[in-house]
Subunit: 513 residues, 2 copies
């Protein structure tokens, strides 16, 4: 067997089952080995940002890393924006990146560029394989780094010749054993317990939001001590809906966030950092908690947030709050495509067990809070602010969970960075319903422009409009093999989501706002 | 005026007239300043790879740099693949990249990442502005670095707060004065002259291929001394067709390249490096010249290739060859969509003064050689092997030359990395005719797979097929506001190119192979 096959067999023995790929010539030995071994499911992306975003969506739902297969420095750079998002989400991901054969690197071949430097900007762990003797062990080290606590982005660079060379065997699965979380500090636990109260807030992220038990325990603590709760930081995945307890998110607009967090004297952090504004603005602070607010870091990202919450609940003697159930909101019958009606149509349409992928900011702003009243769902959001994650993330979630409907709530401007992912949805036959909020502009940037411009003129606003020409998302989807429909009334939006989610295969809805 | 306005006014005074942009919140002060000053034409791209590829196409045709406006590390990474291509082309380009305000950088905001590290991987020159006092001067230094000899990729990182702050004035245009080329060495010139002969080859690139005079002088030298000529290295721009002398390119397939260069004892390099294989392969050398071939580096990239050729011609006493004219090839009347017919249809259809953008490798392989017999045209090719350049490059060329028709010869797989550029073509009303060669697969990779795989199986080949589902490029174009047509016969291909190129505005032709 050659180096490429040894690497793939080793990773598979340790649990890696899917490879999202956009390969080039320097990765042909991996394509060949993927075929010959037949061990991994290969999902082809038309662009590397599709690959990295899909690997993120897969890992968020499968709870384990996928591999990606990327081509040299430009391919890795194309994957970079969604690697950034995955890194902020602390999603485990293992990138295998081909480089030129070692003897070829000294020449200025057209594709020669700085692969390690490109990798460093968007990875937590980077290694270049130095020998076919070590290729499988290096891959297992990369997997162990990725699949630790927290998850990390590992990038393994493989010179082409090392993939060709014959090797003796595979690496035992044990080498890829993931790091266990660091224990909770007893003093910090006592400090957190004594900090609870009406002038305190608990800010949670990471694994807490994936654990309905942890959120029920938090609700129990909050009910007894009158402490406020917020979800803070990157929203990798949140379990929501009936049977689960809801945590509000710290708002995006800086003034709303400052208002939401004003007045707190103590903030207990559980897999969360002190919240920071998305951007800096003139005359606004960067940090969102009051200046005199004491922070209590109960669990960092390398610790187990749900375990910390269980210990805290035990210490203060609270039980988990009982499951919360309520009737879902009614679908709108008629009315304008305004925020209230569109939000209600979406929240009412979400089917049981749906995976919601959320890359929107100014549209359907009430859909997420309303969804707390509906059936149980998983909610995955953009985590690092690098737009172009939604369509790929939905693709990867669909690969991980073929039996669950995926509904992607997608801003129009952001969708156009990686719209090619629609084709992978069609190729893989994934049940993904993409709702494009077609407001024909970068709405959020128009709001931001007014924060810096004295009085933005027509030229500046024109740079943020997407209406000249108007894009036809149904045609774009058709071009990529995905059927679609334009809708312009809330009841139709509701019914079209219901129908599309109940049927197999992808569908795109252009919701004209 | 604020820092952003000072920067823009300074750059404009030194000749920068166009800004290709995909801005975010950290660049809103630039959007505002672009609007208020009204000095630069702003071209919006839906994705950063569109922006960098278009800036490359603009600079290749305008002969001077455009500015780009990009958003933080993920935006810069998205631009990376086409920055790589531009860097290999030695195209002058000036990137302005926003970063968070300085006080904000210490926190882990969602979009915080390593902007200088990302820039370093794809730039020749990088600087982060440290103060509003220096912003305009820094920008002029960046422009001088970009616009030197050779052209470079300059990346200037501007923390948002420095763009907001008030500044005193602008920087004089003189500061951005471009470097002059280094002189030609007399000894090297004499050595080159004595190297000419039937067992010698002259390998040229860069500015030589843009100069019909230089190519006529080369043809004169070749005719008298029986020296062979090749265009080698990245093909940034080549002036071709009637009245000009043609240089064949070193072939892409490694065996063809080795055969073409076998037997030469001396190679004179003029703005070219010793040619290297695109990729390394088992049992093939990396360098393409015979091992015992002596190289004579007459002009490096920081020297003036056309001046070196003039001096060489004077030394050996040759005159420029007289202008060469011939009848263009006849358009095919009927026949299959095979390589010969498709090549002839394209070569015959190219209108006078066309700008041809070339991102294809396995389709229409005879179109370029045949075009030597047609009307005068400019030919721009992919230069760094990072696919996804064609549609953006054509967009930028169209912005630079509104009175010249642009014809993009575009592989289907490569087009899908940056297909969003079609919308910018529609928005700007550019006369770009894009011919998609729809062979429904990564054909070149299938050929490469057979070089590494013992016997590629169906799973491996399936990873290189784009036919499940078949993409409909006419629908995709329609979605982006560009009309199109599918053609499946060579005569129809010819007529459709002629018609589209004669009419204003963009058009897409899906040539079904």
């Amino acid at each position: 067997m050659n180096g490429a096959e040894s690497l793939l067999r080793s990773l598979h023995s340790a649990g890696v089952e899917v490879c999202f790929a956009n390969p080039g010539t320097s990765e042909m030995q991996f394509v060949d080995a993927l075929d010959r071994t037949g061990l991994m499911r290969c999902v082809l992306g038309l662009f590397e940002g599709v690959v990295s975003g899909a690997a993120d969506g897969y890992a968020r739902m499968a709870g384990k890393p996928a591999a990606t297969l990327l081509h040299l420095a430009p391919g890795l750079a194309n994957a970079g924006a969604n690697l950034h998002n995955a890194r902020k989400a602390r999603t485990p991901m293992l990138n295998i990146v081909g480089d030129h054969a070692r003897r070829h690197l000294r020449y200025d071949a057209p594709l020669t560029a700085d692969v390690p430097g490109t990798a460093a900007a968007f990875s937590d762990w980077v290694r270049t394989v130095q020998s076919s003797e070590t290729i499988a062990g290096d891959a297992m080290d990369a997997l162990a780094a990725a699949w630790g606590h927290p998850g990390q982005i590992s990038t393994l660079i493989v010179p082409a010749d090392i993939g060709w060379e014959p090797v003796a065997g595979v690496e035992p699965a044990e080498r890829a054993k993931a790091r266990a979380p660091r224990g909770i500090d007893d003093d910090m636990l006592r400090r957190a317990a004594s900090s609870l109260g009406p002038d305190a807030v608990i800010l949670c992220g990471g694994n807490v939001l994936e654990s309905p038990d942890a959120m029920a325990r938090l609700a129990g603590i909050a009910a007894k001590t009158d402490t406020r709760l917020f979800a803070s930081g990157p929203l990798r995945r949140m379990e929501r809906g009936n049977g689960r307890h809801d945590l509000p998110r710290v708002p995006y607009p800086v003034d709303d966030a400052l208002a939401a967090l004003s007045g707190f004297r103590r903030a207990i952090l559980i897999e969360a950092l002190p919240p920071v504004a998305f951007f800096a603005y003139p005359d606004r602070p960067s940090l969102l908690l009051p200046e005199d607010c004491e922070t209590v870091p109960l669990a960092d990202f390398d610790q187990d947030g749900p375990a910390a919450i269980e210990a805290l609940a035990d210490l203060v003697g609270t039980k988990p709050a009982p499951p919360r159930n309520s009737d879902p909101c009614e679908p709108p019958q008629a009315g304008p495509m305004d925020d209230a009606h569109v939000s209600a149509a979406i929240a009412a349409a979400l089917p049981e067990d749906a995976i919601v992928v959320d890359e929107r900011l100014t549209s359907a702003t009430r859909a997420m809070p309303l969804s707390a009243e509906g059936p149980p769902i998983s909610w995955l959001a953009i985590t690092g602010g690098a737009i172009g994650i939604g369509v790929p993330l939905a693709t990867g979630a669909g690969v991980a969970c073929p039996d669950r409907p995926v509904v992607a709530l997608q801003a129009d401007g952001s969708s156009l960075y990686t719209i090619q992912a629609l084709w992978s949805q069609a190729r893989e036959g994934l049940n993904v319903t993409t709702v494009i909020f077609a407001n024909r502009g970068y709405q959020i940037l128009k709001q931001e422009l007014f924060k810096v411009g004295q009085n933005p003129g027509p030229g500046a606003l024109d740079m943020l409009e997407l209406d000249r020409p108007v894009m036809d998302f149904v045609s774009i989807a058709k071009g990529f093999g995905v059927p679609g429909k334009q809708v312009s009334c809330p009841a139709e939006l509701y019914h079209t989501i219901r129908t599309a989610a109940a049927e197999p295969g992808p569908f795109l809805i252009e919701a004209v706002l």
